[in-house]
């Protein structure tokens, strides 16, 4: 069954070739059918691989029959399995939504499938340079998909993202160079093996002193983290996300926010796990809550619905990063919480983006103030409600489970816990603000779709209903049966003993979420006042220039090296002891 592993990457690539053929022959249906079939095929293979995974614990496949370090290996463990399933499910939903929107030609499906193939590659590969290649495949496809509508905003958002991403990939390559010089190989498995056999300090090929090599390794990891971390959008590497995800077509926003930023974070996870520098991981403990709070604050000021959701993506990535950082020093509870929130967030964020996208598609209006006057069809409201309640962390949805897990990791540091709690309140408040889009308004929508007419009396398109219901059901299932859905995936991925998945439905947590909801309503009423809205507009108009964002990236590497070294201990003495 190991032979099926390359199929996970081959299927979407083969389907993308057929999409190109469909473009040449001018048959859109071929592209759509092939795309859906290939994603379905991936899910089928993943389903067939599950029993093999349970019995063997992990699969490895050497490409071309060349063993490492001569060749590239695909590593398939439970972490890869859960991320692949998450990515493909969200991808399938976004794909169905795109088919329902009926405004994309075969090129769109070509790049969509390339994006999925690239993400599968990032998840599966066990070689650092191969990871770079797949990251670039994902990047290039996402550049083109973001700019797909060729509107002025999307072109500028795409170019901004392109410049920032290219600069950070350059830094990633610098990190790769250092890793190769120190380790002599690019293979993650061999790197982990040589670092752990030497006790985590001196690697075999080193000729420098131990502190010198450790310094270089720390620099390499900082560069690698900033390189991919840009795509995972934590502060200070988040500046591209609001423009890009807001300007992209709706299914692309769902896919990028739902999957791509998580997959990039998982790549950072794998690299830090292999190279083992805990200083940087501890730094995430601070960056996470900062990101969560800052992004929620900015989200509250937005008047464009998709920009608001995009800022929330940054904020939730802050939660994920915070949980990951809390695991520094060997606690696997943090890894479980982080992975749980990754899985939950991909489901409810794509649900939110797709439902808001459906609303924009049906009413033609994306600005919050203008669209509150137009009514959206009533069948859309429940889906948005599920997504909003999930992201606010309210029971009985999966967001409640994962958020309480994350916050409970920070019992020991009240400052960070308060920041996370404030972020939760802000999230709920901005969801109330966003729900204004779905209320019954005075006017009927001006843009009538062929599938849904005016007052919503005729049936909504199945291509909208199926993905929205699937995602909503999964959110609900994750909340109602967390041990089954989230717990089993997370536990086997992070190595926590089974039964160690804590229950989120304690009285304390339920009361807490009730308090959040009440506070959120209060915050929402507060920001509706006239004076507050002027302050919000002032914050909204603050824009970081392109050059400023680029400088932030370079500064981030310096920051990560210095702070990561300090947090690991002993860095200043090593730096100045020449």
């Amino acid at each position: 069954m190991t032979e099926a592993l390359p199929l996970l990457i081959l299927l979407p690539f083969a389907a993308s070739v057929l999409c190109l053929l469909a473009r040449l022959l001018r048959r859109l249906l071929l592209a759509q059918v092939v795309a859906v079939l290939s994603l379905g095929g991936i899910l089928l293979i993943l389903g067939l691989l599950l029993p093999v995974l349970h019995s063997q614990g992990g699969l490895t496949y050497s490409m071309g029959g060349w063993p490492e370090p001569l060749g590239i290996a695909l590593n398939f463990d439970t972490l890869a399995w859960s991320s692949s399933v998450m990515g493909t499910v969200v991808g399938l939903c976004a794909l169905l939504f795109a088919i329902g929107e009926r405004k994309y030609d075969s090129d769109f499906y070509f790049f969509f499938l390339l994006l999925v193939a690239g993400m599968e590659g990032v998840i599966l590969t066990g070689d650092l340079f191969n990871m770079f290649v797949f990251i670039e495949i994902v990047s290039i496809s996402s550049y083109i998909l973001i700019a797909y509508s060729l509107s002025r905003d999307s072109l500028w958002a795409c170019l901004r993202y392109l410049l920032l991403s290219s600069l950070s990939i350059f830094l990633f390559l610098l990190g790769l160079f250092l890793v190769y010089r120190i380790m002599g190989t690019f293979s993650l498995r061999l790197i982990t093996a040589s670092l752990s056999s030497a006790g985590g300090t001196v690697p075999p090929a080193a000729s420098d002193s131990a502190s010198g090599t450790a310094k270089a390794l720390g620099l390499a990891v900082a560069a690698l983290t900033v390189g991919i971390g840009l795509k995972a959008a934590f502060v200070p590497l988040h500046t591209w996300l609001p423009d890009a995800h807001a300007a992209a077509p709706h299914p692309v926003s769902a896919l990028l926010s739902g999957v791509m930023i998580k997959v990039s974070f998982l790549a950072v996870w794998r690299i830090l796990a292999a190279l083992g520098t805990t200083g940087l991981q501890a730094l995430f403990r601070w960056i996470g809550p900062l990101t969560a709070l800052l992004a929620v604050g900015l989200a509250l000021c937005q008047t464009d619905s998709k920009r608001l959701l995009a800022f929330h993506s940054v904020s939730q990535m802050g939660l994920i990063t915070a949980a990951f950082g809390a695991a520094a020093g060997g606690g696997s509870a943090g890894l479980s919480a982080s992975l749980a929130h990754i899985l939950s967030h991909s489901l409810f964020k794509s649900l939110l983006f797709l439902s808001v996208g459906a609303a924009i598609h049906l009413t033609g209006e994306r600005d919050l103030q203008r669209s509150s006057a137009i009514s959206t069809p009533p069948w859309l409201m429940p889906f948005f409600l599920v997504g909003a309640l999930s992201i606010s962390g309210l029971p009985p949805f999966n967001g409640f489970v994962s958020k309480t897990l994350v916050v409970s990791l920070f019992k020991s540091s009240p400052l960070l816990a308060t920041a996370l709690r404030l972020a939760a309140v802000g999230t709920a408040a901005s969801m109330i603000k966003l729900s204004g889009m779905f209320r019954r308004g005075r006017m009927e929508p001006l843009a009538a779709d062929e599938a849904v007419v005016g007052s919503g009396r005729s049936a909504p398109s199945p291509f909208f209903l199926i993905p929205l219901s699937l995602l909503a059901l999964l959110c609900l299932a994750g909340g109602i049966a967390p041990r089954f859905l989230i717990g089993s995936l997370v536990v086997s991925a992070t190595g926590e003993p089974s039964g160690g998945f804590p229950s989120a439905y304690t009285a304390e947590h339920l009361i807490e979420s009730g308090i959040y909801a009440a506070l959120a309503a209060g915050v929402y009423l507060l920001i509706r006042t006239h004076r507050a809205s002027r302050v919000l507009k002032r914050i909204r108009d603050l824009r970081l220039s392109l050059d400023g964002s680029l400088v932030l990236i370079v500064a981030a590497v310096v920051l990560f090296v210095v702070l990561g070294g300090i947090l690991r201990g002993g860095f200043p003495s090593a730096l100045f002891s020449r």
Partner: protein, 138 residues
């Protein structure tokens, strides 16, 4: 762009040799410096020379867009087919299933020669299409 007769004439005479050189780079890629991408880039530079000297419209009459696009798609599909053929024939994905010849001869090193040819055509066609799109005068 004002056409110069010297440039047009010389480029017309040069293009076949550049194409030949590109093909040489591709087919000797496993024996000496060269290979799929390098030869493909040279092939497309020949197309680029034609576009620059005679204009994109004239070049497209000679090498039609749909034909170049078909070459690219076929090459892509063939590459995936050869990779999958490794799995089908018992060796692993992207494994070699052709006989290895003697070192130093052109038909040696298994299927790397074929992969080079496929990649060369793919890259040549791809960069040619890029040039067609970017150099068009609307």
């Amino acid at each position: 762009m004002k056409e110069s007769k010297i440039v047009v004439l010389v480029s017309r005479k040069l293009v076949p040799y550049i194409l030949l050189f590109g093909l040489y780079l591709i087919s000797y890629g496993h024996l000496s410096p060269g290979g799929g991408f390098q030869g493909g880039a040279v092939l497309s530079s020949a197309m680029l020379l034609l576009c620059l000297s005679r204009g994109v419209a004239a070049t497209r009459r000679l090498f039609r867009y749909r034909a170049v696009s078909a070459v690219e798609i076929t090459a892509f599909a063939l590459f995936l087919a050869m990779a999958a053929a490794g799995t089908a024939l018992g060796v692993s994905f992207l494994g070699n299933f052709l006989p290895l010849g003697r070192i130093g001869e052109v038909p040696s090193s298994g299927f790397i020669l074929f992969l080079n040819l496929i990649i060369g055509l793919e890259v040549g066609a791809g960069i040619t299409l890029i040039c067609y799109s970017l150099l068009q005068e609307e």
